[in-house]
Amino acid sequence: MSLGPYAPFIVTSYVAAAIVVVLLIGWIVLDYRNQTERLRELERSGITRRSGRSATGTP
């Protein structure tokens, strides 16, 4: 396919979309790692969720 005289604009917009989507995914993955790590740390220091346990216990 040939993109004609405006190839840079077309390529830039696709690249920008790719970058933004990758950034979003990266942010979400990093955030997930951070939160689970902090949860694990808290659990290691002996803090547990009372409400969580009771919630899973109810049908």
């Binding site: 604009f9 808290l42 969720r49």
Partner: protein
């Protein structure tokens, strides 16, 4: 799977963990197909190859409004039904919506450069999207400004709904302002009659991006639930009884806490 099941954050975490891989796979496949279709799509007789920008721009512009709609529904959930996941959904959607809106603006401006000869034209549609972008940023600032998430949720919900009601008014005013100042000299984006050779890739891309949003949104909601869990655990940790009268080194603290757990 009933609504009550979904209302429980723990259930939600378990369920979404099962759904997410499938969603991600479907998104990836559909995106690949959409990209292939838009690559082989013919050039427009008027816009030339720049029509390919549309295949990115239109789905993002659609999502910029769709996400606000999702947030409005969630806000109703927060205000009316006090659904425990509603404000999580609203909060998680805002940055993703802002990112898609940014992409809509960016690609629109790249499309406009060859068409208008300038990156930015105060065209009615682009301007409305710009205002929408500002509203997304304002909403994110509100979420950030208030430390307590449940208090922020109600304020953000009101703002989201007011925004949803206002958007048509804003759109109408901008249209009116625009025609007042420049009578239809600017070529409208997209064009009204779409050939089937453009419509199919456009639709596939729109569905693919919507799926992408759903996937990202679910993942972001999971993160938000975990963040709130961390926060409440930290509050518990802070309020743990401090044994101050003995000037111990904290070893007793460990014993006490394991005993309590």
């Amino acid at each position: 799977m009933s609504l009550i099941d979904l209302a429980n954050p723990t259930r939600f975490l378990a369920l979404s963990a099962r759904v997410l891989p499938w969603l991600a796979a479907a998104t990836a496949i559909l995106l690949a197909v959409g990209l292939y279709l838009s690559a082989v799509a013919p050039d427009d007789y008027q816009q030339g190859a720049t029509v390919k920008i549309m295949f990115i721009h239109v789905p993002n512009a659609w999502l910029s409004m769709f996400v606000w709609g999702v947030m409005s529904m969630a806000s109703l959930g927060t205000l009316v039904w006090r659904h425990p996941l509603a404000d999580v959904a609203a909060k998680a959607a805002a940055p993703i919506g802002a990112a898609f809106t940014f992409l809509a603006l960016f690609t629109g401006s790249l499309w406009g450069r060859p068409m208008w000869g300038t990156y930015w034209e105060w065209d009615a549609r682009l301007t409305s999207v710009l205002i929408l972008f500002l509203m997304y940023l304002g909403l994110m600032a509100l979420w950030r400004a208030v430390e307590d998430p449940s208090r922020a949720a109600r304020a953000a919900a009101v703002l989201t709904l007011v925004g949803a009601l206002n958007l048509p008014i804003i759109k109408f005013s901008v249209d009116w302002w625009n025609t007042l100042h420049q009578p239809a000299s600017v070529m409208r984006m997209g064009g009204s009659t779409l050939d089937k050779s453009f419509l199919i890739p456009l639709l596939v891309m729109a569905v693919a991006f919507t799926l992408l949003f759903v996937t990202l949104h679910l993942a972001a909601m999971r993160n938000e639930i975990l963040r709130r869990r961390v926060r409440s655990l930290q509050m518990m940790q802070a309020s743990r009884v401090a044994f101050s009268s003995d000037m111990g080194t904290g070893s007793r603290q460990e014993n006490a806490s394991t005993g309590a757990a």
